[in-house]
Subunit: 337 residues, 4 copies
């Protein structure tokens, strides 16, 4: 059993905790919270042990009727791996603590690439991550792009990918995030930093990205163009992507017309939190013109990195091969629609 | 066992079906669909028998690989009660069919009040609905208001209630609903029809409503003022509402600041589809100034009527008392946060 | 000629500058900017003299090709009145500077009431502001409420007013303001601070307010209930409000159904920036039930305080009566639709 | 003087009418309305003669206090050119009427290309439109693309253009348009019909488009990639586009970060209705990587086709060259920021 702690129990942390708890070969030792808010109460209801992220706040938790099992230091002493799910930049501040406790750490995509020994995406760089002492699971957008470009590059060769990322402005619970009634170039400069981040996973793929921010909370939307080295048929590409375990082809004629319906479908089939762990590629949009492939995909920013974190734990702490880890993660969670 | 059929498997229908399937004294015989879209596939995945709502579309379902157990007529022949969850106005068109099959029917709030023998809300009119041959579960907004005003009227007497309803523009999956970047008076005339609809449940409560439509999909928000006959303390009102099984007091200091966080909390505690069956009253907002009570409440339009439909089935088909039915519904679903 | 300077040339400042420039008895000496952004360029295009709000940034303006006429100190030396239109709280920091230069100042509603000798609204407190050495024009929402409640109180007596304010989340150019897809109680406590702010203008009117924030940028929407001392007819109230110079009754049947159409109409009739200086009361919504008046009004947050600032200048610097000032302001701007 | 009538006085029609009225060589004979709504009143306030679009509604206008100068037939008898600005598809129904009156007609982009003898964009196809008996001004998106691709193709040659169109969901006054909180592939198939529409103007340019619909009302956003035949410097492309009269380069460092600020700037410089007739290209986004050009541009859907309609009138009714017409249109309106 790999003993795992989650430091930072927010949007990503709570999902990683649930996913770890669902693994037969892992034990969720506990999660940290900085204050006894509704998330902390939710953790307790799920039966997770709470640890105070900040030492002198233990009393605050007790006052709120939420007992804590210890502090972050206690949690670190009890785990084989810590998954840092703190806000961007806080992971960097936490790093010395993890190192002092000699606990291998997994960071999230909001941190700079050099925070860890390697950047991680199960489809794109599992084997390359072997032997690392720490890993950084790339961001939701980079995860979505890596899963798409890896099989295309392997099968047909990618001459150049050009992607417009229409990013969600904030997560559903972030009431202070905008924009309202605006689609904002962010960054205004093109190409954006997302392409180079993909190269942390797939160093040889030529990819340019342009990023916008839109007044939506549910999902990112990617408008993808890939000039391939070969000229496959549209059908062949559809089959290739349909065969990927973490790609869901939104079927034509199913009546799914946007992120709202997609999440409705996820709830229909019983997904916890309505989560979509897979890239959601619009089947009808896949189109090859000469060597130019076009498609739209939606990425559930809160969820797609979750199975990746599980695999990153195995890559860091076990000898499991990519195929073994991915199969185990997917089966225990129910990835694949 | 009460044998139940659900005609119209959309936003409300799929939730009613799940809730019926969860009752120990009910059997979900099946649900109807007009076409084999993603909702139909979701129903099949849940193990529900599909019936074709439109006779000559059986082939379409077969072609999509979704076997049907029969047509609406077959479903009606096999049930004790049908719950009509079709779009507004379609229930009226379905009524003669239900009557021809001699099946007691429950309609939704999008239908006119005179479609059924009585309008229904478990808290406000369970006993009054006794003996009816058909019932209409009032709309999400009316349900939310009835649950609030019933205990206030019983305990303190309501001199007059004045409520502004800031309604969601559409459900999450309705991409064709607006407004974008506008808060629209709808109807422009004040008072709106919601007050009279409350009077279908609580005939003696004086209530004026004013309704707006906003560019949000998650929940309705009600800004409530009630002039009471007495002058209770703020604390007393808080206790009264906190004691209602279908009212959730959003706790101060929990870090919940909007509908997004509310639904995040619902998912945290494991609610299917992130559903909030309860009125969500902002505890901090409850305030009594003289005889004037103020508060905000949020209502999850997709969910609050669901336990009401379950109780309506028992009111129509059994001798169970209100207390018995509500307790059974709440326990089987897990109502109460 | 009253020589006027505007310190802070943003949403409000640029409109106040235009309005001052349009007055026959005023001279706009200049406006300040903290940096040479598009607003500064716009000011220059309009022929307004630019002053550097921050002394050591003069070079930055020169580098951008925008000559400045001096610094804030220079501007203050050249004016009879300064209108502070800086962000909330910055006015308080500027106060000692204005006092050191012995220049009477007008502040905006984002400042605390005690920043100035008196709070100001032409309809509600022009005469009370006489003799003050500084004034604070109350916020957009308070201005809208004062204009409505003043005539109602004078004519019928207000027993109690209860208002729900559905506020815009941000101005159109504020891309960092949320919420997205949420209506947020803000503040969660009821009554909100807006009622007491009205009492700075109308001390004797009993008014409770509840405030929400919505994902829109164009206007605020107020859902108003006023219990009057008398029982006027709906028609009488309509006539009363229709007779107010800064109230526009949105006519029934004109096809105006929201803030978007309202602003379209403002542009149709040639309003600069599509500004609506008037309270926009939905004629069809006006309704008297017993002594209870209901109505919806929309308030253009960027514009309604503009004529008030002009009148505040006259109240501070001249002997003009309210009637004289308001008539002059309204005529020069074209207030009244 | 060219006598011009505008049939359909909505979003586009009212702007075309204003633009025609501003031309020294044109006379706006009148505009039609189907009903006496706020737009009709706005037209009268501007001094435009009203004609009843539907014969038997003349009385309705009179009843609303808005006198009409006649019916559509009367208008057609009095003009040299009619500009049809009716909703998509209505132009097709109007065509026989125009032909019966033997009046050359200009249609809008909502109509099919074959409604007229030629499709029109001043930059792309002025000379090709010569001698046509009727013209169709292409849609707002196609206009924006044509203005961009024409100079690029002339100067460097376009090997292939790939554009993602993030379209506004509706115009500001359209309260019934969605989506709310969703970015919708529309159409889901890629490439979309916008590319072929560009080919109505620039037949030899290879362009693939992918279209989304977002919950915004102010502008469209285009994410553009163009593979050129040559390898110009970023600076050269910037200069080329900066030299186009109907392209505005949004300057770096001006503090403009979205459509809201863009429209604020338009209002600052005095644009009627805050209209942006130009393509708004984000200067900072222009970037050439090898032969791949990237940039973002915003298009004001309500405004960019307006100067094009003016030029279309001259192309249809005069011998003016493109250069003469464009110069005259731009000068009279003030195109160019
Ligand atoms: N939300 C997304 O869409 C998304 C997607 C992929 C990756 N990420 C990345 O995941 C990371 C976490 O993002 P998130 O969206 O979950 O953020 P979040 O704000 O939802 O959650 C962060 C949690 O960490 C807690 N926290 C803050 N400081 C802490 C500390 N010092 N110690 C322990 N806990 C602390 C916060 O209270 C909060 O509960 C970031 O790097 C982010 O870039 C986010
Ligand atoms: N969505 C809400 O917020 C909400 C809340 C409370 C009450 N209601 C009421 O519930 C009812 C259903 O609303 P909804 O939101 O679930 O609508 P919906 O559109 O989500 O679902 C209606 C379903 O009925 C199906 N249908 C249409 N015609 C049919 C027919 N002839 N036979 C069988 N099925 C048919 C549709 O395919 C769809 O699946 C309405 O009366 C509505 O006013 C809705
Ligand atoms: N925007 C509204 O809806 C609205 C409505 C009514 C009242 N108000 C009040 O008006 C005031 C101004 O608000 P706004 O919306 O115009 O803000 P804004 O941010 O649009 O404009 C403020 C301007 O002041 C400038 N500024 C900042 N610091 C400065 C300094 N030290 N010296 C000089 N200039 C400085 C900024 O650069 C900006 O141009 C606030 O008190 C606000 O509460 C705003
Ligand atoms: N709005 C845009 O963003 C935009 C941009 C470019 C092109 N277009 C095209 O311009 C055309 C007009 O679009 P719009 O947005 O101005 O529409 P709109 O709905 O704003 O205006 C259309 C006007 O025509 C009137 N009308 C309807 N039927 C009529 C009839 N039979 N006779 C006379 N008038 C009639 C309507 O009352 C309305 O005033 C469409 O082809 C559209 O595709 C629109």
């Amino acid at each position: 059993m790999i003993r795992v702690g989650v430091n930072g129990y927010g949007t990503i942390g709570k999902r990683v905790a649930d996913a770890v708890a669902a693994q037969p070969d892992m034990e969720l030792v506990g999660v940290t919270k900085t204050s006894p808010n509704y998330g902390a109460e939710g953790a307790v209801r799920r039966g997770y042990d709470l640890y105070a992220a900040i030492d002198d706040r233990v009393d605050e938790f007790e006052a709120a009727g939420l007992g804590v099992a210890g502090t972050l230091a206690d949690l670190l002493d009890a785990v084989d791996v810590v998954v840092d799910c703190c806000p961007s930049g806080v992971g960097e501040r936490n790093r010395p603590t993890y190192e002092a406790h000699d606990v291998p750490a997994i960071y999230q995509g909001g941190e700079d690439a050099d925070i860890a020994d390697a950047s991680f995406n199960a489809r794109g760089s599992y084997e390359a991550a072997r032997g690392a002492g720490s890993l950084r699971v790339v961001s939701c957008n980079t995860t979505g792009l890596s899963r798409l470009l890896a099989p295309l590059d392997e099968t047909y060769g990618v001459e150049k990918a050009r992607v417009t990322l229409v990013r969600r402005g904030g997560d559903p619970s972030e009431t202070d995030r905008g924009p309202i009634n605006d689609v904002v170039p962010d960054p205004t400069t093109v190409p954006s930093h997302h392409g180079p981040d993909v190269n942390e996973i797939l160093p040889d793929v030529d990819v340019d990205t342009a990023a916008l921010r839109a007044p939506v909370t549910a999902m990112h939307t990617h408008s993808v163009n890939v000039t391939l080295d070969e000229e496959p048929s549209t059908e062949a590409v559809r089959d290739l992507l349909g065969g990927e375990s973490r790609v869901f082809l939104i079927p034509e004629g199913a009546g799914i017309d946007g992120a709202g319906a997609l999440k409705d479908y996820a709830a229909d089939v019983g997904r916890p939190r309505g989560d979509l762990w897979e890239n959601c590629v619009w089947e009808e949009s896949i189109s090859v013109e000469g060597r130019d492939l076009y498609l739209f995909q939606n990425v559930h920013q809160e969820a797609d990195v979750v199975p990746e974190n599980v695999d990153a734990i195995r890559a860091l702490a076990t000898d499991a091969s990519r195929a073994e880890s991915v199969a185990r993660t997917d089966e225990s969670l129910g990835v694949g629609l």
